[in-house]
Amino acid sequence: MAAEAAKVIDKETLWGGKVSPFSISYGKLMMWFFLVSDALTFGGLLVAYGYQRHKFTGEWPLAEDVFHSLPFVEGHFPLIYVALMTFILIVSSVTMVLAVEAGHRLDKKGIIKWLAATVFGGFFFLGSQAWEWSHFIHGSHGYLVTESGQKAFFETDGHEYHENAELYEKAAIRFEDGKVVKGAEAKEVIENSLKHVQGANLHENEYGPQLYANFFFFITGFHGFHVFSGVIINLLILIQVIRGVYDSRGHYEMVEKAGLYWHFVDLVWVFVFTFFYLL
């Protein structure tokens, strides 16, 4: 809480020199300015995403079709995993603000407890993101590029095959114009196809326009990198608190500054969640 900022000081004194009209410490103000510049970077990325998204509005994939799996569970759960990740990040933001609050009461035990919970939540989120990336990269059935350069998709009546041999054996083939072939004819198409595109990387992408995969890697990757550095910063602050580095200072402002950064990471994810997954 900014007790100093809540104090009523008349304008003459506030703007007359000697006191800072901002009533905020140097470190916190500079952290805010850094966050503004970082927010501009993310704003630029999301606006660039919106630009391409509107440009290819007809072919852009639905997030529900791309992100519908959970680890350890078979089935179709659109967006549930991303929602879980969002929830984890919000909760770790809450534990961070509780650590800051404990810091204002000089409650060292409280800080250690809540900051440790924040670090745990951060690692949990990073692990979730790693799983999501791996799933996105490996993909599902994918599509074939036929002899004539057309796309051909697999028809499986909702079955999901994990082995390609089984997929080739059982699936029917649907061409771009809607024509479906089965059995021996399908086998022939598969045999003569130029390649089988599965999952996504920076050159190929089974989900839709190539830019979709590129933006996924870049935006969630850049955000994940921020989460990673945030977790490391929180971990270092936690170690400093445990070792009693801040005891002699009489305040725990370092926790507050790290907290600002951590909340910012959560803030960015709120926007990524809306614009990348929901819209």
């Binding site: 900022a5 901002f22 410490s25 704003g43 204002h104 009461r105 926007f271």
Partner: protein
């Protein structure tokens, strides 16, 4: 030489147990709001999307606007409450928010304007 004209603002930010209780109850309230909004967004996202409703339909456009509005509500709670910007002086708040909002609004306008145009051109020449 020890300077006595520099104020350590961070020293003036302590509060007692009673104030802490009020602050904590506010934190839990904001947590509940953020969670409920997220759950509502995902629940709507599972059952309604632009394939079910049609990309140009009024229902989908209003859901989209609602998503953006709810995102801004969430962002407001995080910035004002969790990051304590609401407790800072008014001039700090505007120094941080005003330039950002101004710039991003312009960026959104120009990017969407141009991409709609290019989309229309692509459609004209490919059909």
């Amino acid at each position: 030489m020890e300077r006595d004209d520099i104020i350590e603002y961070s020293l003036n930010t302590h509060h007692n147990e009673e104030q802490g209780k009020a602050i904590r109850s506010k934190i839990w309230k904001v947590t509940a709001i953020l969670t409920i909004i997220t759950i509502a967004e995902v629940a709507v996202g599972i059952y309604f999307n632009r394939r079910v409703l049609g990309a140009e339909s009024g229902a989908w456009v209003s859901i989209k606007l609602a998503y953006i509005f709810l995102t801004l509500v969430k962002a407001g709670y995080i910035v004002m409450s969790f990051m304590h910007l609401g407790d800072e002086r008014k001039n700090v708040r505007y120094t941080i928010l005003a330039p950002y909002i101004l710039f991003v609004c312009y960026l959104i306008f120009i990017a969407l304007q141009e991409s709609e145009y290019i989309n229309a051109m692509l459609r004209t020449y490919t059909e």
